[in-house]
Amino acid sequence: MTRPATAPDTRDIDIERTRLTSTLAETWKTPPGFWGALTTVDHKIIGRRYIFTAFVFLALGGVLAALMRLQLAQPEARLIGPDRYNQIFTMHGANMMFLFAVPVMEAVAVYLVPLMVGTRNIAFPRLNAFSYWIYVAGGALLWIAFALDMGPDVGWFAYVPLSGPQYGAGKRADIWAQMITFTELSALAIAVELVVTIFKQRAPGMTLDRIPLFVWSMLVTSFLVIMAMPAIMIASTGLILDRLFGTHFYNPAEGGDVLLWQHLFWFFGHPEVYIIFLPAAGMVSTMIEPFARRPAFGYLGLVMALIATGILAFGLWVHHMFVAGLPRLGDSFFTASSMAIAIPAGIQMFCWLATLWDGRPVFKTPLLFIIGFIVTFVIGGLTGVMVASVPFDTQVHDTYFVVAHFHYVLIGGAVFPLLGAVHYWFPKLTGRMMSETLGRWSFWLIIVGFNATFFPMHILGLEGMPRRVYTYQPDLPWHGLNVFISLSAVVLTAGFLLFFINVLKSARFGEVAPDNPWDAPTLEWATTSPPPSYNFAMIPVVGSLHPLWDERDTLPVADGLRTDRRELIVTTLAAAEPQAREASPRNSIWPLLAAVATTIMLIWSIFSPWAVVWGSIPIAVALIGWFWPKGTPEDES
């Protein structure tokens, strides 16, 4: 292993500043080269990779969307046949939800949360590395299968019996189900890391009411992940067992239940949309402060709204099942609870509006995206309240109205804040600013293209055009709007293209960024851009909610950490008082090996149940290697 750069047990206060940074850099470094890339456990490197990969999946999913719009531009088009179209819309939905939207939010958190709470690495850094490899494997599984004409074709929620053994021929539905296992596994891993990081590794003095809002949102999101994802993992495992092994979880003739699938899926699926939306809300709350030039209005209200949304999220899932024929009373209850979620959403909306109202807004690209988000998300929220009513939903269920609604909330509610966040935190990741001109152009193209693409879909839906159809007949009154939508999608695509060009160009030639280019108040800007491997030379001590505004020149720091090994401070849960010095794990190849072994087992198990038996052996070996005792004693408090 690497030799410590200073004598054992050297503390940071014992040496002067330049020596301190060079020793820390030696202790925390990721060695350059291929091996270093495979073994790294640095949350910034992994977070960057994660974000990059998720955006690759966004682009791939976008290509599929463009193909669908091309096909639907005219009636009876011959570009894509029905079988391929089924695969394409399923791939698009599954890819966007499971490989882009959820992972990208987690990825941003992997990068930012440790910086925002002022610590040196995420909790369980090796698990973090493992999570990334598992995620990539799941994404590769889905896309390689698609390339082999084996892509899932049962819709992104894969209802049984369509996806069950009787109607889902071949391995297509199994690919979907196993891709779920991969992505849920990786999301669960990150959720656990984030909860521990946020609860136990906050900088001294960062009491509960001084936690930045993005961090709060990730805390709530992580709990949602921990409670929602097991439901879908159980559901998809049951599906694979039914299909491969002949169990009867979803076979009513043998005592199984088809509705069980819908309940399990949506018990996960509804919280899933908040798993995507809450981080975006947190980004908005955090970004709005430097651009409105005042603290976010109603911190307590915003935090309570996040928590309330998180709790309510588990009480609404049946609104996806209104046409499944459930008891009336159940329908009414879930209508009411669905409408109730508009309350915390409204509270957040008004807090943001108040912040802007009372501030002195600076209209840079991130703020433009925030405003785009507010407008679009409100429209999507309103159609959400509409479809929460049973009679209305019965009319528009499975029509383009629903497609319009969920793209308003998903793209408006999550992708716009995310794009703003990329512009905002880009200097933190790369040390360079993104171009304002290109940023504005892409914003306007995206916002205009988006509304022109998706607003008419409401009308198509009311006119009865069903979703998931590969074509329609020329005598139906849908042709004009479909041409218009497809043309608008070109504008939207151009906007996204410009965004990607801006990212690639700015990463190389962008203006070099100062440490705190937006004069922001949160801790991630208290270190250099991009941050060094150890994040902070001395762990900051926090005295307020906006440390960089209130203690602009002299941020107090904690001392006493060892420099010869990776150490960080563990603090108490509520008051964030220092409790212990804790060692953070070193680089390791075992997470990658464990991920490879897990991948082999999971994919093999699509074909033979024996895979679970034989495939567990390499996993066990990898885990033993991972946890092999190192002989270094646990540190004292």
Binding site: A137, A140, L148, D149, P161, Q166, K171, R172, T599, S608
Partner: protein, 185 residues
């Protein structure tokens, strides 16, 4: 790296097992009808084009599952049961009066057989007959195929096709099973 590994294994498992040809070209369908049967009408060879297509009715998941559906739709169950037999012979026991080759099964369905097996040649397309033949073969196969269909959403009377239901019957063991064979031709 994991991606490459994955890709190779998926490609090997994949090949053409997932292709879905929803409608055959008429000339291909015509050619598929021209099997070469021995004079005894047992055994023979499928047409050239069958190999050119890559034996699509034995290892293609979609065709096999379509076959399973046709098996119900065309009432095969009324005589052959769920493979256990009835007034017609069982498939599950792996005993074939006319041999286990796909062409023989194809001929039995298309042209009928003595003692009550009707001809389906004018009730189904060639494509469908092949699909059905491929499926019937999996019922009596003693090796599970990954492409074979799994159970239906109904009462289970035997293990599903992908679990090689006939294996149990092939296995003599301490207490061999002797399903009723139906009438002998």
């Amino acid at each position: 790296m994991a991606g490459v590994l994955l890709g190779v294994s998926a490609a090997l498992a994949g090949c053409q097992r997932e292709e879905r040809q929803l409608r055959l070209d008429p000339p291909v369908a015509d050619a598929l009808d021209k099997i070469a049967l021995m004079p005894s009408r047992i055994g023979g060879a499928p047409p050239e084009v069958y190999f050119k297509l890559g034996k699509p009715y034995e290892a293609n998941a979609y065709n096999l599952s379509q076959g399973k559906r046709l098996y119900t739709w065309f009432g095969c169950k009324s005589c052959h049961g769920d493979g256990q037999g009835g007034s017609g012979p069982a498939f599950l026991d792996g005993w074939w009066y006319y041999g286990p080759e796909l062409v023989s099964i194809f001929a039995s369905i298309r042209d009928g057989r003595p003692h009550g097996m009707p001809a389906f040649g004018d009730k189904m397309t060639t494509d469908q007959i092949w699909q059905l033949a491929g499926y019937v073969q999996t019922i009596g196969s003693y090796e599970g195929k990954t492409a074979a269909p799994s159970r239906n959403d109904e009462k289970q009377t035997r293990p599903a096709e992908n679990r090689a239901p006939a294996k149990l019957l092939f296995d003599e063991g301490p207490s061999p099973v002797h399903p009723d064979q139906g009438p002998t031709p």
